[in-house]
């Protein structure tokens, strides 16, 4: 276990050093992030004209969802995107061989090798919005609601990671899968809005098939003190299932790996 922590520290400190070379990138990411946030809050505000509400969510609590989305988007940009989009390249160029030869779990190696520090401001800003908007909507934090919030965020992140990794792992067979990742990202954008704002069929799909609801709506409910504990248990089971599936699928995929250029 210790070995894994040490490896992460080494990975991320080299990532930090190499990214210092591209400071302009950091600035661009920051600008893009602020623009995105401004735009999405603006679009959200269009739903709240004439005293209307979006799926029974008050303006402030809908902002909590925007915050959770921003936070997860930051994590995606920092960790998921840089690592999981690379898997395709390893397969295509045959460099996956080197990864498999290393005396460490290959899924672990592929998932944490890189860390993009440009995602950090988004993570911090997202959390700030969550807490600010939650206070505005009059929720009082307790240790209970905070721990539920943290657990549900973890659930959301693990589900997101597993689904993404599943798609990335399929590149063992179909080399170019990054378009499939684009489909996933497009669907995840649905998480910007509360799940109850969607028509019933979509609500069903976004809860059980592609669990977008667990990514943003349920963590937001947790911090607002409205999350039902049964949903949390259900989420734990679902994220365990997805994570197990991603691991199982990776092992299965590796059995079919034939390496490139040989």
């Amino acid at each position: 276990m210790n070995r894994y922590f040490k490896t992460i520290r080494l990975f991320w400190s080299t990532a930090f050093a190499s990214q210092l070379e591209y400071q302009l990138n950091f600035l661009i990411e920051l600008l893009a992030m602020l623009g995105t946030l401004l735009g999405s809050v603006f679009i959200l505000s269009l739903f709240y004209t004439e005293g209307r509400q979006l799926g029974d969510w008050s303006w402030e609590s809908a902002l909590v969802i925007q915050g959770v989305y921003t936070f997860l988007d930051g994590l995606t940009n920092a960790l998921l995107r840089p690592n999981l989009t690379e898997i395709v390249n390893y397969v295509r160029e045959g460099t996956l061989d080197y990864v498999l030869l290393k005396p460490i779990d290959s899924q672990f190696w592929l998932s944490v090798k890189k860390f993009s520090f440009a995602g950090l401001p988004e993570i911090i800003l997202g959390l700030s919005i969550v807490f600010w908007a939650a206070i505005q909507s009059g929720s009082s934090f307790s240790i209970y609601s905070l721990s539920l919030f943290i657990i549900s965020l973890l659930i959301g992140f693990v589900i997101l990671y597993s689904v993404w990794f599943l798609i990335a792992a399929s590149s063992i067979w179909f080399v170019k899968t990054w378009n499939a990742t684009e489909v996933l990202r497009a669907l995840l954008a649905a998480g910007r809005y509360p799940i109850s704002a969607y028509p019933v069929t979509l609500r069903f799909i976004f809860t059980l098939v592609l669990p977008v609801a667990f990514l943003t709506t349920f963590p937001a409910e947790a911090i607002l003190g409205e999350l039902k504990i049964t949903i949390l248990f259900f989420g734990l089971m679902l994220c365990g299932l997805f994570f197990f599936l991603s691991r199982f699928f990776w092992k299965f995929a590796l059995k079919h790996y034939t390496s490139a250029s040989s």
Binding site: Y22, L24, N25, I28, E29, L31, A32, G35, T36, G39, S40, F42, I43, L46, F47, T49, E50, R52, L54, G55, F174, K176, N179, A180, E182, V183, R185, A186, L187, A189, A190, Y193, A197, Y198, P199, L202
Partner: protein, 265 residues
Amino acid sequence: MRIFGLSYKVIKTLLTTQYAYMLEYRIEIALWALSGVLPFIMFSLWSQNDVGNTFGLNDIGLARYFLSAFIVRQFSVVWVVFSFEEDSLSGRLSPYLLQPLHPLLRYVAAHLAEQATRLPFAAAIAVTFFILNPSSFWLPSLPQFFLAYLSTHLAFSIAFLLQSLVAALCFWTEKSSALERLIFVPYLFLSGLLVPLSAFPSSVLKVAMLTPFPYLINFPAKILSGMSVDILNGFIAQILWMLILIPSVNILWKLGVKRYTAMGA
């Protein structure tokens, strides 16, 4: 007859080879088409929450607008900056620059060929949409279709030129695709992909109309869906943006090529 200084034969060869190349990547292009579902997600939100009335659209109007936005987006997607960055970093650009053909025209051909490959998939998605929302079915009249077709091509041209402007920055910086994000963000919110622009408060709308973005989705989609729209002014604005962008791309490109140092060669 020569277009952009190219003979008919060159154009035909470019388009057919690119089309053959794109056909090889059918599944990826199908996935690309599918990744444009955002207008449908937004449609389900707007119609479920009865917001359409505030900007004068009933459910059928909303459905038609968002389907049109989807279609326009399908045929105006541009990725030249990403191809160009890859070609530039891997050194493939050097032989392209030696050929008596502007490298950007090669990318234009690739985009047009991809649109042709994408057509059946986009059509299949549109049919699925009609099956799910049968009441929204409509066929635009012939002049409507023709005008929408024309304005979508103009939208594609503007988007292509905008991205070429960023791509030309590849000559100065290694990672110009990061700069593309700075165009994509205002595009996402101001183009009308998420909501028809008539929903905007008038102050925001005024600012938005000063940018090229509303002419990339909102304007062609409104024509296609049969909403009332100032057609003449829209086309004038589209052509005006092209007249601004073409010389800008040209100048930046010429300056850039002088700096080109053939990376990776």
